[in-house]
Symmetry: C2
Subunit: 477 residues, 2 copies
């Protein structure tokens, strides 16, 4: 099975299918990754690179003959690494953390090594059953409604990103609304706060909705339910059809928390779909003390959170739960002859191809399973609590210093602040932090005024990295 005459080059070039080479190369790459992670701190968080720099180092044409793995490994050092922002750097405080961990990396590797397709239960039962099981574990771990288990009327599925999960929810809601009201999508309305993630607006546009209303927020940047109710009534009066509302638990801008229960009650009253976007903060719910932020989930039709943000699992691993899987499957199921299957036809199994847009799917649940086991629930809780408490301490320190203004609460592990001396000072401070090379933050805007987002919780960030950032702010500020 290891002969590869058909691809072996007569010149004695490496055989791309030699499994002893694979062992040797794989060991080298594992060591390379460990050294990369260990060495991150000696690099700037974001490498200095101009448009075209990376491509300029790449050959004009693909090689005709096989190259040895050593050439690829060398190019990781010479071409790839100098062209990255190092998301796993301990000084990474930008965007949200894109946490990874040794267990996640190995889970991804195992999935790639197995190379199986989980589009149907029958095309590799373990892919589906491990996924269902691990997502049911997470129902218990995060305290979301029991009905969301795959053993109940709902169920969970892994998608690539929260954008995909939200888009899927929008498509199902659109079809449900059309069946109920006969309204065309062009007359349907989607609601979310002005602080909602761009994926709501993008998903609504992709799904063909005619209208998106970005609703006013209260002083802590949470959706104002009175403004929502008023917008719904205005749209009804104009002959439009309210169809979908998104409540964010932890917005991207400032991790504001929309009132899920009140939003859900408005949704129920008007027959709208309630989607909860907890892309970032959902991971925190493994700690019971955060769950009050999402009181009212029993009113939700769908929910998404990204294990690839704050749960030590590398991208892509977005969890999508629905309270009722029937409308989902109704909208997304297509049954050509080459996908017919006796196990599917009994209804005894889940075929995840009917739970999202793509047909094929790799074994992503493996890395989530490995992460949950490698850390244990305790380890993950401790990780969440540590970063949340580091964030609270930083926020308190900023709050106590008259040079700075904390612009939003810190319910999770994101600190939002600006310089009290004005917008130029805020911009200059963000630039100075990012130019330091040791810490990296995201400059953003609220009400057309700049502020700085400090997102704490990267896998390798320790207390002293947060302290170093604080000292830097102190010094530059």
């Amino acid at each position: 099975m290891n002969d590869a005459d058909t691809v072996r080059d007569s010149s004695g070039a490496p055989d791309p299918l030699d499994l002893d080479d694979f062992r040797r190369n794989g060991h080298q790459l594992i060591d390379w990754i460990a050294a990369y992670l260990e060495g991150l701190e000696s690099r700037p968080v974001r490498e200095s690179v101009e448009p075209g720099d990376v491509r300029a180092k790449l050959p004009e044409a693909a090689p005709e003959s096989p190259e040895p793995f050593e050439a690829m490994l060398a190019d990781l050092d010479d071409i790839v690494v100098p062209g990255l922002a190092h998301w796993q750097h301990p000084g990474w405080f930008a965007y949200f953390p894109a946490m990874s961990s040794p267990a996640a990396i190995l889970g991804e590797l195992a999935a790639a090594g197995l190379g199986v397709q989980g589009m149907l239960w029958s095309t590799s039962p373990a892919v589906t059953e491990v996924e269902s099981h691990v997502l049911d574990w997470l129902v218990d771990l995060t305290g979301v409604p029991q009905a969301w288990k795959t053993t109940g009327p709902g169920g969970g599925v892994l998608q690539m990103s929260a954008s995909d999960s939200t888009h899927t929810a929008l498509v199902v809601a659109r079809d449900q609304t059309r069946d109920r009201t006969r309204a065309p999508a062009e007359e349907m309305v989607v609601y979310a706060s002005s602080q909602a993630h761009s994926s709501i607006e993008k998903g609504a546009r992709v799904a063909g909705y005619g209208h998106v209303r970005l609703i006013a927020v209260d002083p802590v940047f949470a959706l104002d339910p009175l403004a929502l109710e008023a917008a719904v009534n205005d749209d009804l009066a104009a002959g439009l059809t309210p169809a979908f509302v998104c409540a964010a638990v932890g917005t991207t801008g400032t991790t504001a928390v929309d009132p899920v229960r009140t939003t859900g009650e408005i949704a129920r009253r008007h027959g709208m779909w309630l989607h909860v976007d907890a892309a970032y903060a959902g991971a925190a719910m493994i700690c019971p003390e955060f769950r009050h932020h999402q009181d009212g989930l029993e009113l939700a039709d769908s929910y998404t959170f990204n294990a690839h943000k704050w749960m030590a699992t590398n991208f892509d691993c977005s969890i999508f739960w629905v309270a009722d899987r029937k409308p989902l499957i109704e909208t997304l199921s297509i049954l050509p002859p080459y996908l017919r299957d006796s196990a599917s036809e009994t209804g005894a199994v889940i075929d995840y191809r009917d739970w999202h847009v793509p047909l094929g799917r790799r074994f992503r649940a493996l890395k989530l399973w490995f992460v949950l086991r490698s850390f244990g629930a305790q380890g993950l809780r401790s990780m969440i609590r540590t970063s949340a408490s580091q964030a609270r301490e930083l926020a308190e320190w900023l709050d106590a210093d008259p040079r700075f203004e904390v612009v939003a609460p810190t319910p999770f592990a994101l600190v939002s602040f600006r310089h009290a001396a004005g917008d130029d000072a805020t911009r200059a401070l963000a630039e100075a932090i990012n130019a330091s090379g040791s810490s990296y933050v995201t400059p953003s805007e609220l009400d057309n005024r700049p502020f700085i987002r400090v997102s704490i919780g990267s896998t390798w960030t320790r207390e002293h990295h947060v302290t170093r950032l604080r000292d830097l702010i102190d010094r530059v500020g």
Copy 2:
């Protein structure tokens, strides 16, 4: 950086962040994967497993404390492997091959190890530039129009699956058609042959199109252009708006080839978007002798092929090319403050978040880059040619035997045949092959009659595996 006090368990449990453990575990897993691939032939292609078997072996709840990696490795053997269909088995002739290779596995590992996000150019320039560059290489390697290079008006992007690529094309076409005609999506029509992949119908439904016409095919299962023209005219007469037509180069059922040029001419005449679905056969175009099958590509607006089918790259790695990237970006670009970026604003860079539904993206180009370099173009051509010639030989052998009927041409590496003794004999033959454990095929249907798909081209399939399948067909038949 390697201290992990916050997650270390006081009981002396393993530290999930210890990088020496990662090295040790990683080496073990690499060896495990090599042994898995070497040992596949001693396993049945598809394990015998009933619904619930896998879950029954999993604990009720997630562990509270960290588990050692050895426990996960043991569960790969005890729980996962006995619950799989082994898509990398040399006797895999089912569906299409989901080829993987050592270089692809290592590319996926490297991407997971780096753990970077390529949503914007600036969030890790190398992710975007390697992707653009490698897809431009593929333009030359496969002979598709030069205008599809990212250095031209078009460009390529990696998506998860052909379903995602096709859905993206459908969304852009819908918005283009709406801007041009003011017609609502509910009045727009999508055309594809009756043999088109289910992703066309699913994508059209997801994108909100009101109508999908599955057009009659000719005796070799290719789209009949006269029937297409007639359907378009009927729809126009009924006041509907023709918007999108898909030409398949290599259908899923029998790898039939629709007439791309004629279909494109009809599309041009009626202002429709022409999408070419070469999900499977696109890989073959690295061999010039197959390119006549897609004559007329200069009329196409978009094109998709899956490197994760017949190009030795593990799922997911679907290539999506557009002839003009402007409408794509117009439809999919949303710009919230936290994603604003100076490099993006100059227009000097590509931000791939605007080229598909998801925002986040991992470094998938790495595995494609590794595969192209590990095999070299010659190696990939040789792999394609070998499987195509094995398929032709099998088809000729079946054709010469009066017990069997080859039901469709074999332009690539799929053989479609049935038993001459009737449908029951065909079904029984498929069952006998799949029960053998050594070979696995997909039973399918054409015109409500069963036939057997034999898809040749799995990475580890050699001449003698095809011979063994032929002998099995001979014996059972």
